[in-house]
Amino acid sequence: MNSLKRNALWCVMGIAAGFSLPANAADDADLIAKGKALFQAKICFTCHQVDENVPAPAGIAMKAPKFMGNFWGKKRAVTLGYGGKDAEVVFDEKYFIESIRKPMDKVAKESSAPMPPPPAVNDEEMKALVAYVRALSDGSAGDADEGGLIAKGKIENFSFAAYKGSWDKLPDFSKLKPFKTGKAQSGTADPGLAEISENFGVVFEGQIAIEKKGNYKFKLGSDDGSKLYINDKVVVDNDGVHSMKVVEGSVALEPGKAKLRLEYFEKGGQEELALDMSGPGIKRLQLAKQIIKPKSSGKQPFPTGNPIDITGEARIYRNFIEGASPRGIGVGYPEKVNLCFDANTMQIAMLWHGAFIDGAKHWNGRGQGFQRPSGHYLINLNRDQPFAQLESDDAAWPQAEGRDTRAKGIRFRGYFLTGEQRRPIFGYKVGDNLNVADYAEPQAGALPSIVRNLRIRGNGEVTYLAAAANEITMKDDGYIVGDSMLKVSFPEIGDLQPNIRENAGRKELIIKLNVDGRVTLKQLYEWKL
């Protein structure tokens, strides 16, 4: 309902001003945006690629048509029924609708399989999908807000500062150090100025010339969050992690210069920012828009939208986690520190602070790919198995090679959730005679840390690999590991003796254990910033 009102308003203003807009340009803008959202929701995107930087892996085997380049209104070779007679159609609205309603009737000849019927699409949704896909063809899909545009690039004394970080809400940028600052001639706030596509924020500042006294309206759309300040007052608050969402606000302004501050952040996935202004004498002024496309990192976008929130208990997320083998087990703790235990190697593969992880990658579409941990201060640890029964002191440590290479001589037994906080104790068997209980205890604080409690029961000699890196140096009461933020130490170590050995071109921090009944070992993982 809101968006209808908004459309009407933009239309009326366009007509009143006598501009020769396409009759439904403003409608189209919202319709295209809706179509874009439906393209995701109806899982079209899993097979049909629309952006050269974002592959659609599910469509590769099926050779699903890509909606890229100039395809709308063009001829297309099809077969009448899958594997049937050859025919030719024009890729137009009629064909598009038919191919969704009856995917088996006219199958694109290039495809190696007909399209599985998508979720039901009603007539209204169909209009939006048509508008979006048609717009993809002439390259205007990204310009979903072009309709009714009167002027752009009017921010004066325009400067920007870009920041790196992963947030769920706009941070206090005044406390952060930008990695990039500059002035822009374009006069349009463009998040592309940051030149990265994920985990960043930008603050734009400048002025707008106001000629007439009156009430001015601002329409701020962003993916993820944004906030607009005019004359140091919040006019539009569109904060949080979300897909493209438009929020409006208005403010009374006097003639002269109005101070503008626009804050924006992007966590992962698609990024978008759009700010339009209207009011006395200004029909539609575009103040922000993504123009510069960030260079693709070659990686898939980092999806967000299903954060796994941690409240009173530890939570487990067992899935494909980037930085671990496919048997990663993420654990998020209320102490705001998280880890990923790798059930292939029995090693802690990663540690990080803040937000735990987002299910978006695996809980949408077919769920392909590895999800990166959320949060910050991520430490990737060496993933070699933690225990080995070495034949000699200088025998090579068994290596984790490739994605699914398993720890040698170790069998994963599962985990037990303990205490009110339901923290997991991982269990595994080393050789025939040793059982390990591996229990991480988070330590709350300004900079939380982890104590890893290892309890080894049984009989036999075994070596523990506490860390491995190109460099391990003793510092104070512990060891700095490589060039990471990690410091490890061994509280309550008793008679046990950590040693740094040189092996296969790296340093290994090892502890030899002779287990007769039971040995316990504590290792503290701290961040040194």
């Binding site: 899958y82 067992r318 087990i329 299910g359 809980w363 769920g367 699914d404 959730l417």
Partner: protein, 493 residues
């Protein structure tokens, strides 16, 4: 209102019968009731596994890795109480209760869990076996069964993608013993949609249309068999496999047909039930069966889900020349989402769970849990369709009207098959129109249909639209799709 309609219908039917007219045709909902169990706000349960617990509660799991326990699962749908039992599992695709443990098959392992401190939440998650490989490809699903009569759970492992197997046992069926050992069992799996046991404890799994699978189907898994897709054959080189199984002497040839390749590759097991693609479904998945007749007349027949069509089909199976084959029929439609999991309670209540994520489904809901109960009336259906040397023997659920059942024009038949090929799927090929040359009513509920020609390997689609029951009703689902892997020898009198 409802009552009045029913009375009117009955009266109308009686009058119609008196005048030789037909009454209103029966519909599925006259016989079976589907209730959608509301899933509480905030709960996303992409229902992938369903199992009854000994305390009368129902355990359900979903693709997001969560497990809920439902109190009062047979009560009014809106009064079913949901409790979170476990979360954080890796896309579990079945649940099985045994020996005080709730088992599930996650992507990377068979796990068993239980609640040890009586707070109604699982706190121990024990890895029973994780002996297969996984690379992180989203296709690498794993489906498992309940324990078979020997205590083994059968697990089918999807290939890495559609075509190849990048890591141990992708594209294989393995059994996991009670002691947690893995036994390599069968090769040739492509992309399973479900696996289960029949009433004899034999394993069947659903494979989906794609390379080497012209149509989705349900396949029997004999130990040592090859199920059609050679993408995972490299694992014949593993020591654990070499010890117990041999690589087939011949590889299947692409662009062929099943009968020809069965001749060359003796381990090749043909699909027992083809669900013609785009006709009965697009994506065969989980199944269940009624073991005691409390769900109607279809005791021990397989009730097989289809994800895309949001339906449950019915399969009658028989063994001919040592090979499973049989007829598939439409059975029930109107489910909430894309059906993938099925559980039949011994009292005759069928639970069906579904999700449409990643592959669309007609049901329309993102995910659902449905409950089906039999209303006690027997629909007029083709109960069994058995292959004979020269046609088929049909057994009906009710006595037939001898005039229509014995009339040749009540029947028509077509036969067709699919290309057995390395390319994705297949069009319908080799279409034939066998002529129905005989329809002999051989018993109150039996008709012997003879045709001029049967073709080995073809789906024989029999339409019996003209047949009426003794009380004048048409067949609720009058088409049988018989997968004729073997033609039985002529009976000796």
């Amino acid at each position: 209102m409802k009552k009045i309609t029913r009375i009117t219908l009955l009266a109308g039917f009686a009058l119609g019968q008196a005048l030789g007219l037909q009454g209103a045709d029966p519909v599925e909902s006259d016989y079976y009731q589907i209730d959608q169990i509301p899933i509480p706000d905030g709960v996303v349960l992409e229902t992938s596994g369903i199992e009854m617990l000994p305390n009368g509660k129902l355990a359900v799991c979903g693709r997001r890795g969560n497990v809920y326990v439902l109190t009062n699962p047979f009560g009014k749908p809106e009064e079913v109480k949901w409790t979170l039992y476990a979360e954080g599992l890796h896309e579990p695709l079945n649940l099985a209760y045994d020996d005080g443990w709730l088992y599930c098959t996650q992507r990377g392992e068979v796990t068993r869990m239980r609640d040890t401190n009586d707070d109604d939440r699982a706190d121990i998650f024990e890895t029973v076996n994780d002996g297969w490989g996984i690379t992180g490809d989203y296709h690498e699903y794993a489906f498992g069964t309940r324990p078979d009569p020997d205590g083994n759970m059968w697990v089918v492992l999807c290939l890495t993608g559609s075509f190849s197997s990048q890591i141990d046992y992708r594209g294989w069926c393995v059994r996991i013993t009670k002691e947690g050992e893995l036994i390599p069992t069968a090769s040739g799996i492509r992309s399973p949609g479900g696996i289960g046991l029949n009433h004899l404890g034999e394993a069947f799994y659903a494979d989906n249309q794609g390379p080497w699978n012209g149509s989705s189907s349900l396949k029997h898994i004999p130990v040592g068999s090859f199920q059609g897709h050679p993408g995972g054959w490299r694992w014949f080189d593993l020591d654990a496999v070499k010890k117990i199984m041999k690589r087939p002497a011949n590889e299947p040839k692409s662009d062929s047909r099943y009968p020809a390749e069965r001749g060359r590759v003796k381990e090749l097991t043909p699909p027992a039930l083809v669900f013609p693609h785009g006709v009965l479904g697009n994506s065969t998945s989980g199944f269940a069966y009624d073991s005691n007749g409390k769900f109607g007349p279809f005791k021990n027949q397989l009730l097989v889900c289809d994800q895309t069509f949001s339906v449950v089909n019915r399969g009658f199976l028989e063994k001919v020349n040592g090979v499973y084959q049989g007829a598939a029929f439409s059975f029930l439609k109107g489910f909430g989402s894309g059906n993938i999991s099925a559980y039949m309670h011994p009292d005759g209540t069928l639970f069906i769970g579904g999700t449409d994520r990643g592959w669309g489904a007609r049901g329309g809901k993102r995910f659902a849990l449905d409950r089906v109960t039999w209303k006690g009336k027997v629909p007029f259906e083709i109960h069994e369709m058995r292959a004979k040397s020269d046609g088929f023997e049909l057994t009906f659920t009710h006595e037939v009207d001898a005039k229509t059942a014995g009339d040749l024009s009540s029947y028509s038949m077509s036969a067709y098959t699919y290309i057995y090929q390395s390319k994705y799927g297949s069009p319908v090929v080799d279409k034939l129109t066998p002529k129905v040359i005989g329809a002999e009513v051989t018993g109150p509920k039996k008709v012997r249909v003879t045709v001029d020609k049967l073709t080995k390997g073809h789906v024989h689609e029999l339409q019996a639209k003209g047949v009426r029951s003794l009380d004048g009703k048409p067949i609720l689902h009058p088409i049988g799709y018989y997968t004729l892997n073997e033609i039985p020898p002529a009976e000796v009198n």
